[in-house]
């Protein structure tokens, strides 16, 4: 952002500032300004296109299937902000001149790898989300896109994860394993030892990708 309150924190090995890191989890927070008019990347104005995109994405969960394949994301959100709630002076009242898009993600891995994955795997999706924003350079090649994100990124002042030691993949695998472990636990006392040993071996084969 153009006028940081205090100097930026040093960049860590994760490719982002230490304040954006909570164990394995990394925070990314991005604001972008939405064009009121059309351009080559966005033939429909953002104020019409983005609510439609959001509605369709919510209505057809398959559209987020690719996002789900990027198994290093815990939670992500996009919001369009047209007006800031008024709280009295000296805050200025009224609508913003432009709509602004807020994006945040909670992911694990490295900042560079995250943007690379977004650019390569979700190129069309990124164009859909940010194509209506000023300055969006297309997701590929990645270098200008990374610069764009960096220019629009704001560092967290405090970032918290309830399970800092865990990656999103670990959690998703642990949840799958837990359900299967519950089933084995239910049967364990009822089976004869040999039958239990066979069930345990089947269980291990079944969950080996979760371990």
């Amino acid at each position: 952002m153009s006028a940081p309150a205090t100097p930026a924190a040093p960049i860590t090995a994760t490719g982002t500032a230490s304040r954006n890191v909570a164990g394995q989890a990394i925070a990314i927070t991005v604001f972008s300004t939405i064009r009121p008019l059309v351009n080559l990347l966005a033939p429909i104005p953002g104020r019409i296109f983005l609510p439609l995109l959001f509605f369709l994405t919510r209505s057809f969960p398959k559209l987020t299937g690719t996002l789900r394949q990027l198994s290093f994301i815990h939670f992500a959100r996009w919001c369009v902000i047209s007006e800031l709630p008024y709280n009295g002076p000296p805050q200025r009242k009224g609508k913003l001149r432009y709509q602004h898009m807020y994006f945040e993600s909670n992911f694990n891995g490295g900042w560079e790898e995250y943007i690379d994955a977004f650019s390569h795997i979700l190129a069309r999706g990124m164009t859909a989300f940010w194509g209506t924003s000023y300055g969006f350079p297309k997701p590929l090649p990645t270098a200008p896109f990374k610069r764009y994100i960096q220019d629009n990124e704001v560092e967290a002042d405090h970032y918290y994860s309830a399970y800092p030691e865990a990656t999103s993949t670990m959690i998703q695998r642990a949840i799958v394993l837990d359900a299967k472990l519950d089933a084995l636990k239910r049967d364990a006392a009822k089976l004869e030892p040999e039958a239990f040993a066979a069930a345990y071996r089947r269980f291990l084969t079944d969950v080996q990708h979760c371990l």
Binding site: H74, I171, L181
Partner: protein, 188 residues
């Protein structure tokens, strides 16, 4: 905004965001306080067990770049504090917990924001946070049906299972079953 509250929900998870204007002159003090929270001990969010991931971000201004051919620049009138949380269950009861458990910190955080009630706690703080809520357009959750309790339990069980699988190799069937029941119980 105005996307409706359904967009804030994915499975049992809720995406909350409040954007509050910081009182001019309080920006550095607020930033210093927030950045010092880790040094002061465990994060206050440890006292809100329904919180998966949360953040405080101070936004000083919008980014304006002449090369982007934006017709007119836009600047924020004051700095804004963003608070977002990815939480379990319904918002109302979560904010009740937040406004009770985080009352000592809330005074130092939202107490530095324009319009915050004099006593930054309880119902007054809850109303303030809800007044400043920004609705989500799209909320993506990788494990939308798992609460923090479920996530932590699953992670513990996974670790235990890895250790069990490693150390139980070579046991005969009866010993394997006995040890499994001792370590994991019978599911009852």
């Amino acid at each position: 905004m105005a996307m409706g509250t359904k967009a804030n929900v994915s499975g049992q998870a809720y995406a909350f965001m409040a954007m509050t204007p910081v009182r001019p002159g309080e920006e550095d003090a607020l930033s210093t306080y927030l950045r010092g929270l880790y040094a002061a001990g465990p994060s206050p969010f440890e006292r809100l067990p329904r919180t998966h991931l949360a953040r405080f971000v101070i936004v000083p201004d919008f980014h304006n770049d002449r090369s982007w051919k934006q017709r007119r620049e836009e600047h924020l009138d004051v700095h804004y504090l963003i608070f977002t949380s990815n939480l379990d269950g319904d918002l109302d009861s979560y904010l009740d917990e937040l406004c009770r458990e985080l009352a000592p910190e809330a005074e130092q955080i939202w107490g530095r924001c324009i319009g915050c009630p004099e006593q930054a706690s309880g119902d007054a703080l809850k109303r303030y946070l809800k007044h400043n809520q920004i609705d989500t357009g799209i909320f993506f959750a990788a494990y939308p049906d798992a609460t923090t309790t479920k996530v932590k339990r699953s992670l513990r069980n996974r670790e235990q299972m890895i250790e069990f699988a490693r150390t139980s190799q070579g046991l005969d069937a009866a010993a394997l079953q006995q040890r499994f029941l001792r370590e994991f119980g019978d599911g009852s």
